[in-house]
């Protein structure tokens, strides 16, 4: 199988290199052909790998490709760990990537950077595959940073736009804050295990959990807690968890296909994947899991609220992504790793669909993104309309759609988790924060999703006459990916919920300690999909979702004066939402501004005034003055100098000999 794995990884890389370096020679058609063939090959082979595992019970494989370097007994290797977790991720990544490649032919049709774009998205696919297929922390970090690099390049793809190149710098730097923690976490792992290899590290996990680190003063911290929190800081950057979420909404400056691929379906889920991959470690630190669930809960609820006040079609979807990533993080914190990965998968399909549908609308609207200038598009774009509806229903967890199964089980998992049965105040507080957030989040999700849906597709047509006259359905390269993504968005949950959540699908890839194994507890009550549908009528979740849709319909179609009035009356609250809880100000004015001021201060007062001014030039001036006195001694005769030198050297050597 080794050659299959290598082909899966290298095909997109080679395609990216060909399209990137020889784009001019092979032309536009050449560029999209070669990259689609490359990613297509990866998709087929990834599907084959997963099929072999499911149908024929092929075992997980852990193999080394080459030795990157060995220093001081630390083996740094490149290798693959292909188990069911990575195989599932490979299929999701390559499939969504392939859809986005095809879609891009239509979306970027008139762009002068066509070949460059295809090169980047293929390169991204390579980097993401390296990340999910890694069997060690070094390669994980490589993939982690490489997807960050491509994200940087793609957000700033239209590099003439000031907003785009601001957004990509912001994205890279905020991610680097996360990576800072991530790298320290990896260093912590090496400290205790002297290994970067997953298998070796997991084998020594009990030993790590028995160690302590002094971080602040003399207080010893559990080593596993410190390591897991540090690693999670990395996940917070990549998966945009508060307060490191600020880069994701701005990343919408990039072309829409990459918003779907990178900033919805794949790269932003890397953090979720990483924590699931590290489940053997996280299971040994309840404190770290508590941090995870609280951060996730805050993100899930509060970022969802922001979606309600956004008017840019892509930004609404972006805040929705933040909120859904929060749901996945909550699942991780509840030790329901399989539920997190399940939601990751369904979300990849329906969120990619929603972004591509938004892109389809944007094309038809001639790159207008303000939903206040849309409306009634339904009749012009039927395919986009129906696929968007499917995506939105899946997003709000409408019964029987894929999102229904995945989101419901996150909420159920929180409810049945050890946090709920915990007896301490802290555990109870954690539980209620998490549970209320994911529960109320359902209403919020439905509200912002259908607010957008109604404003775009229903109601009066608010666009100008010029735009309206050109409104029509987008070409097949755009609509076919929409349809191909709508199918799994609608049905994949139905077919996969049982094996993925309760069938021991992930095998040894995900380790949950028996006492915390909430999913197997839920599995005891599993009575099939139909049973779950019926059960849904007895829980508040479905009613909250329906209430959200109804509220959206009433507020934005029936009585649009009400939201305006609310905005007027509660301007204080509205402002907080509009300014995104002032997080951007904290980062941009606080940290970035503070950093620049500190830099100025150090450069001016430190280097220029203190070191150069006082010490260096001050010394030089003193020497100059002394030299003025010494000048009296200068006679201008060569022998005087020679004599002085000889005396000096003799004295020096004499001193040295005396020392000896």
């Amino acid at each position: 199988m080794k050659s299959y794995y290598l082909t899966i990884v290298l095909a997109p890389l080679i395609a990216a290199i060909v399209a990137g370096l020889f784009g001019r020679q092979i032309g536009r058609a050449g560029a999209h052909t070669v990259t689609i063939l490359g990613v297509g090959l990866s998709t087929v082979l990834s599907g084959y790998v997963l099929y072999q595992m499911l149908a024929n019970g092929a075992p997980a494989e852990n193999l080394s490709i080459y030795t990157w370097g060995i220093a001081d007994g630390l083996r740094m290797e490149i290798g693959f760990l292909v188990d069911r977790l990575s195989a599932l991720m490979m299929v999701v990544v390559t499939f969504v990537s392939l859809m986005v490649h095809i879609y891009t032919i239509g979306y970027m049709h008139d762009d002068p950077g066509y070949q460059r774009f295809f090169s980047y998205i293929s390169l991204f696919t390579f980097a993401m595959l390296m990340l999910v297929m890694s069997n060690n922390f070094l390669q994980l970090f490589f993939g982690w940073e490489a997807v960050g690099l491509v994200s940087y390049l793609l957000i700033g793809f239209w590099f003439k736009k000031e907003t785009a190149v601001f957004a990509n710098l912001k994205a890279f730097l905020v991610n680097r804050v996360g990576d800072f923690g991530f790298l320290l976490g990896i260093a912590g792992i090496v400290l205790f295990t002297n290994s970067l290899d997953y298998a070796e590290v997991f084998a020594q996990r009990e030993a790590i959990a028995g160690e302590t680190i002094s971080v602040f003063g003399g207080t010893p911290w559990n080593a596993m807690t410190v390591i897991c929190i540090l690693l999670f800081i990395g996940a917070m950057g990549k998966s945009a968890q508060a307060p490191l979420h600020v880069w994701l909404p701005d990343s919408m400056e990039g072309p829409t296909p990459i918003s779907a691929l990178i900033h919805a379906a794949t790269m932003v889920t890397a953090g979720i994947f990483m924590v699931a991959r590290m489940s053997p470690l996280y299971e040994l630190s309840v404190t770290a899991l508590g941090v995870v669930i609280v951060i996730g809960a805050i993100t899930a609820f509060f970022m969802g609220l922001l979606g309600i006040v956004q008017n840019d079609i892509k930004r609404v979807v972006a805040y929705s992504t933040l909120s859904q990533l929060g749901y996945m993080t909550v699942a991780l914190g509840a030790s329901a790793y399989s539920a997190a990965i399940f939601h990751l998968m369904t979300h990849a399909f329906f969120k990619a669909l929603l972004f591509l549908a938004a892109g389809s609308v944007i094309i038809a609207m001639h790159h207008e993104q303000d939903i206040r200038k849309m409306g009634g598009i339904r009749k012009y774009m039927p395919i986009t309309y129906w696929t968007s509806l499917i995506g939105s229903l899946a997003l709000i967890g409408f019964p029987a759609t894929s999102g229904f199964f995945s989101k419901d089980y996150i909420i159920e998992a929180v409810h049945a988790s050890n946090w709920h049965s915990g007896t301490t105040m802290g555990e109870q507080a954690t539980y209620w924060i998490a549970y209320l957030s994911v529960l109320l989040g359902v209403f919020v999700t439905a509200l912002y999703s259908f607010r957008m849906f109604f404003l775009v597709f229903h109601g009066e047509e608010r666009m100008d006459a010029e735009t309206k006259s050109h409104l029509h359905e987008t070409p097949w390269v755009v609509t076919v990916p929409l349809i191909l993504l709508a199918i799994p968005s609608a049905i994949i949950g139905w077919f996969t919920v049982e094996p993925v959540l309760f069938g021991g699908f992930f095998g040894d890839a995900i380790v949950v300690s028996e006492s915390r194994d909430v999913m197997s507890r839920l599995g005891e009550d599993w009575h099939g999909q139909v049973g779950m549908l019926l059960h849904a009528f007895k829980t508040p979740v479905m009613y909250l979702a329906l209430a959200g849709v109804a509220a959206a319909w009433y507020l934005y179609l029936k009585r649009p004066d009400i939201p305006a009035a609310i905005k007027e009356k509660a301007s204080g609250f509205y402002n907080v939402l509009d300014r995104k809880y002032y997080f951007d100000d904290l980062w941009i004015k606080g940290f970035a501004g503070g950093g620049r001021r500190l830099g100025d201060f150090l450069a001016d007062k430190g280097d220029r005034v203190l070191i150069d001014g006082v010490i260096v030039n001050g010394t030089a001036n003193t020497v100059g003055k002394l030299a003025g006195i010494m000048r009296q001694l200068q006679t201008g005769y060569l022998y005087t100098y020679a004599f002085a030198m000889i005396i000096g050297l003799t004295a020096l050597l004499g001193w040295l000999i005396w020392l000896k």
Partner: protein, 511 residues
């Protein structure tokens, strides 16, 4: 005797001879003259031939031993027991290869941009190359010192003659700083000679020395090497020197001459005065972290591209000194060699990346005659190929995995976590600061709309420029994807060094 005979001597004297030949050929005071053409071809061929011969240093190198290889030893100044004594191990060989690899780029980069006194210019670089190889190859203290001091002369001339407006101030600062530092090194050498009766560097490593003597020697070495690296707070000569130096001068200065400081620490300070190195290691780590954090912030606010890269160099060299002085703070069985290896890899990598970044500034300077960031904007519109290279090198400078810039930093950060959480914490801030100052510059120079007429008129890379940047890009990527050949080359020597410093001299000598 190994093939080819006297390899190290060839690598030292071939470029120096080539430089003298270039001076003899001359340029008739006219860049376009046929003599100038012949002179340039001679220079280029000499540097390429030196590079080609240095390949034997790699192929013939025995990675399994920590002993000196390619040794040459003949009496030199018999009265002083000084020998013409050359040899390399896994620490010096990679640095010699770096030197022979970088020099041809400098020759090519200056090909038709140097209009005044081209013969002297090219000769200076060739002679400098030979002297720098000499420093790395010398195993005799006196010989080392001679190469070390003579090396200043060509660089002094390069900045002083072909430099910018404030070149006199810059050269004076550069010369005084480095010269004052190295004079103290000479005093320490003389003391060691008197103690041991020879100038044998390897012999000095085994010489018993009292703690007081070790401390004094360490301080003397520190002043010489800290200035070269440069370490905070003796770093302010570097930005001035870089700003005034011509492109080639900046490249050699950043890529190789700064490494002299790091090399001095690892070749002399650590093995000769290990107890004092341990005694001062906390100070050294503190200064290294100041270089990473303080200088990182200072770099952020630079308005001149060359100054920014100069400060970035100081911050990156902080990882070198950090890695070298970690061993005394690591209690476990492993980690000491990891830090030192990381520091060494960082030196090689920084040589490639800083060289490439200065060449990139040179490409812009040749066209617009400005180094100010504010004079640019939207360069990617008119020079897309060049912008691609610039972004690649910027990413390498920010330590992106897959480029050489990551390897050393990764190893040093991991080793520093083994020493102390907070050392690792401050070292790892480079992930944020390095990315911030490098990519902010990229944003302001390369991205955005075309900022002015100068940028609008820019032409993309010439074939000559493309070749130079492409070869460096390949080297940076190759070393990032597969650093094993480099790390393997150093392992045996570094293990031996770690063993040496793990057993305090004082105990061994019963002092």
């Amino acid at each position: 005797m190994e093939f080819p005979a006297h390899l190290l001597s060839v690598l030292i004297w071939l470029p120096i001879a080539g430089g003298i030949v270039a001076l003899v050929i001359g340029d008739d005071g006219d860049v376009a003259s046929s003599k100038a053409g012949l002179m340039r071809v001679t220079t280029l061929l000499t540097s390429l031939l030196t590079l080609a011969i240095s390949i034997f240093l790699y192929t013939g190198f025995d990675k399994t031993t920590a002993d000196m290889q390619f040794v040459e030893r003949i009496p030199w100044v018999e009265a002083l027991q000084a020998y013409y004594y050359l040899g390399v191990d896994g620490i010096s060989a990679p640095l010699i290869l770096l030197t022979t690899f970088i020099t041809p780029f400098v020759v090519i980069a200056g090909w038709d941009t140097i209009k005044t006194r081209p013969a002297q210019y090219f000769a200076a670089f060739l002679i400098l190359e030979g002297l720098m190889v000499g420093v790395f190859a010398a195993l005799d203290g006196l010989l080392f010192y001679v190469f070390w001091e003579f090396m200043l002369v060509p660089m002094f001339l390069i900045i002083g003659v072909w430099g910018g407006e404030r070149r006199i101030y810059a050269t004076l600062k550069f010369f005084l700083y480095t010269f004052l530092g190295s004079v103290l090194m000479l005093v320490a050498f003389i003391y060691l000679y008197l103690q041991t009766g020879s100038y044998d560097l390897l012999g000095w490593m085994d010489a018993p020395l009292t703690m007081t003597a070790q401390k004094l020697i360490f301080i003397a070495f520190l002043l010489a090497f800290a200035v070269k690296v440069p370490m905070w707070p003796v770093h302010t000569w570097l930005p001035d020197a870089h700003v005034e130096a011509p492109t080639g001068g900046s490249v050699i200065l950043a890529a190789i001459m700064l490494k002299m400081g790091g090399y001095g620490f690892i070749r002399l300070s650590l093995p000769i005065v290990p107890d004092a190195s341990g005694y001062f290691s906390s100070l050294m780590i503190g200064l290294s972290l100041i270089a990473v954090v303080y200088i990182g912030f200072v770099a952020l606010m630079q308005k001149d591209m060359k100054k920014l890269i100069a400060y970035s160099s100081i911050a990156h060299m902080g990882f070198v000194t950090l890695g070298f002085f970690l061993p005394w703070h690591i209690s476990g069985s492993s980690g000491a060699a990891l830090g030192i290896s990381g520091g060494m890899v960082q030196m090689i990598s920084h040589g490639l990346i800083s060289g490439a970044m200065f060449l990139c500034v040179g490409v812009l300077y040749d066209r617009v005659h400005s180094r100010q960031i504010a004079d640019y904007g939207g360069v990617a519109n008119t020079m897309p190929t060049f912008a691609a290279f610039a972004v690649l090198f910027a990413m390498a400078n920010a330590g992106l995995p897959g480029t050489s810039g990551f390897v050393g930093e990764f190893m040093v950060i991991i080793a520093s976590f083994k020493a102390n959480f907070w050392i690792a914490f401050f070292a790892a801030t480079t992930l944020i600061l390095g990315a911030a100052y490098t990519l902010w510059m990229v944003k302001r120079v390369y991205y955005g709309e075309v900022a002015n007429d100068n940028v609008a008129k820019l032409e993309d890379l010439s074939r000559r420029e493309f070749l130079v940047l492409a070869v460096l890009a390949i080297a940076v990527l190759l070393l990032g994807v597969w650093p094993a050949p480099l790390i393997d080359m150093m392992n045996a020597s570094i293990d031996q060094l770690v063993e040496r410093i793990a057993e305090p001299k004082l105990l061994q000598a019963g002092l």
